[in-house]
Symmetry: C2
Subunit: 335 residues, 2 copies
DNA sequence: CAGTAAAATGTAAGCATTTTCAATAATGCT
DNA sequence: AGCATTATTGAAAATGCTTACATTTTACTG
């Protein structure tokens, strides 16, 4: 009726109210200086009086940029993804960027469909978390003429940056310590299929072995057919026993621990268990697991920071940003 | 140099290439019928040839809608939030909506700042997850002239919908069973401060007691000063022992279990432990905890579905959408 | 106080679409 | 063939902003 006719307030309304031209209003909105203090105040008064808020869509059209960046993740329901998102959002906020979220999880969507959607939306940049991009997906992404940063995945895309964790060095140092103590019956339990990732993980371990004239052959791959690692590990530990078991997955850490226990393998008396593990989960587990803590929040924050640099045209000297694990010794290892 | 001059392709380019007017191109893009099959094919050919993708920003301006909805969550690094997001994204995808993510977590942002940002962005709607909205935040939100749906929080905002879980009924039934077996030494452990939420949680329990002529007085509030519930619970269970301990927080479930154990209280022999718990976490715990599983994914999916209805002008008959817990009996309860 | 440089403001042309309305082409009917 | 419809198409206005360029004010200078 009468109170409903919420008159849409545009830059014109404000200009009118303040008795100036819309150009002037635009100038005060964008704080471009060169407007007299007096008129500026008039305009600001009009803005609050009318409750005017610039239409970001129109701005986007006029400026050819949306101050929006697209984030692509495989699935939001992993703790580390959540933390990455937190980091990302916090720095996005600082630089006044909005984030749109896109998943590759549901089978409905090929990466190309998502990218298609993102280019339609004219996001200024895209940040991708993906452990295993297929060749063809990689090519689609390469052809996408927009600043990109990859989290957790090194790529060969020249126009993009990579922010990731240095698995290799962490494992190199840890395994080195064991070897120096004469402990070399170490296995790595993994369910990842992507060769790049696997190689990166194994390379550090192998290097530690090789420098000591030994060879690492403890890679235990969890076969695809097992619908979860629990089942496989239970079977495995009923037959095998090792001095050290390493896993690089949140989801496997506790499985290793429990299946060892269930097969009479004492942790850490018989076997040291080490994993990548979120500390919130670790707090729930007894014994707590000695673990590599991934700086997920920092990954997200850094990725976003790098993105802002790319968008500001600040020269991004380095394409690769390595972050290190923190290793936290807990009760699942003897020392 | 030469390959860089990536000519920007607009609807004009396409019109030109196809030898038609831009109006016609627009018509085929939007599949508005009324264009001859023959020309339609010409246009489509031009589109693929040029690799044209409609500019969603310009569309947004012309159509006065962005097909974007804003999601506000307190913190993305909780499992259930991740699942809510998954559900939301999946149905958003079906209805071709984009999602922008906003956090209230970092101290930097008042809700009003976030809302301000959202209205600038001209999102078509906003979905808010928040366990405890302050009165003033509620008012800011009420004044926001945009379709809203709240997840997990009943509000009095007339122009919005609520999608939430019915804590009350679940607890009513569970506690009723215990009482009928003569077990009435039941406590509820909680760290939430929002009275609405607490009242909702307690009301079901109380009702069960009252219907049997008893009174529930087992509400154990975790004081604010404890930086985590572990510490508090450890102290508590060193002095108290109950027949049944219920918690309604993922984060407390395992803490209850472990602190009981550490204080010589056997679960379930001495005490039944029941909680709200994500099944992925439950799989890591021994004994597994009998728990209410929150349909987080469904909460997100339903919220988004309701939002699409509001945006399509479909009449939304109900303002409240209740979802039920599933109660899963595991090893932490005697039966 | 005229003259000029600098500061402030306004005008109007984009930005890439959609859509109303008018114009044209195609079809059917007699 | 001629006319009335109807199906296609195009022209142009509208969407809400930025900004280059033009114009008007203001402030200085001698």
């Amino acid at each position: 009726m009468n109170n409903s006719e919420k008159k849409k307030v545009t830059i014109y309304s404000v200009a009118n109210e303040a008795g100036v031209s819309l150009a002037t209003v635009s100038r005060v909105i964008n704080d471009s200086g060169l407007v007299k203090q007096e008129t500026k105040e008039k305009v600001e008064a009009a803005i609050v009086k009318l409750g005017y808020r610039p239409n970001a869509v129109a701005q986007g059209l006029a400026l050819k940029k949306t101050t929006t960046i697209a984030l692509v993740v495989p699935d939001s329901s992993f703790l580390y993804i959540g933390k990455i998102i937190n980091g990302l959002l916090d720095v996005a906020k600082i630089y006044k960027y909005n984030i749109t979220l896109h998943t590759t999880s549901s089978s409905i969507n090929e990466m190309s469909e998502i990218i298609d959607n993102i280019v339609k939306s004219r996001a200024d940049g895209v940040i991708i978390y993906n452990e295993s991009l297929s060749k063809s997906e990689g090519e689609v992404l390469n052809s996408f003429q927009v600043p990109m940063v990859y989290i957790g995945h090194k790529t060969t895309n020249v126009s993009s940056c990579n922010v990731y964790v240095d698995y290799s060095q962490a494992l190199y140092e840890l395994v080195g310590e064991y070897l120096d103590k004469g402990i070399d019956d170490i296995i790595l339990v993994e369910d990842r299929k992507n060769p790049d990732t696997i190689n990166q993980i194994i390379s550090g371990i192998s290097r530690a072995y090789e420098e000591r004239g030994k060879t690492f052959d403890g890679y235990v791959e969890i076969p695809e057919q097992y619908h979860n690692s629990y089942e496989f590990l239970n079977k495995y530990f009923s037959k095998h026993k090792h001095e050290v078991v390493i896993s690089m997955r949140d989801s496997q850490a506790v499985a290793v621990l429990n299946t060892c226990k269930e097969n009479g393998i004492r942790v850490p008396e018989d076997t040291d268990v080490i994993s990548v593990l979120d500390s919130r989960i670790n707090d729930m587990v007894r014994p707590r697991i000695s673990s590599f803590v991934i700086p997920s929040y920092d990954l997200g924050a850094l990725a976003m920071r790098v993105m802002t640099k790319m968008l500001n045209g600040e020269t991004v000297k380095e394409r690769d940003y390595k972050l290190n694990y923190i290793y936290e010794r807990k009760a699942s290892t003897k020392n």
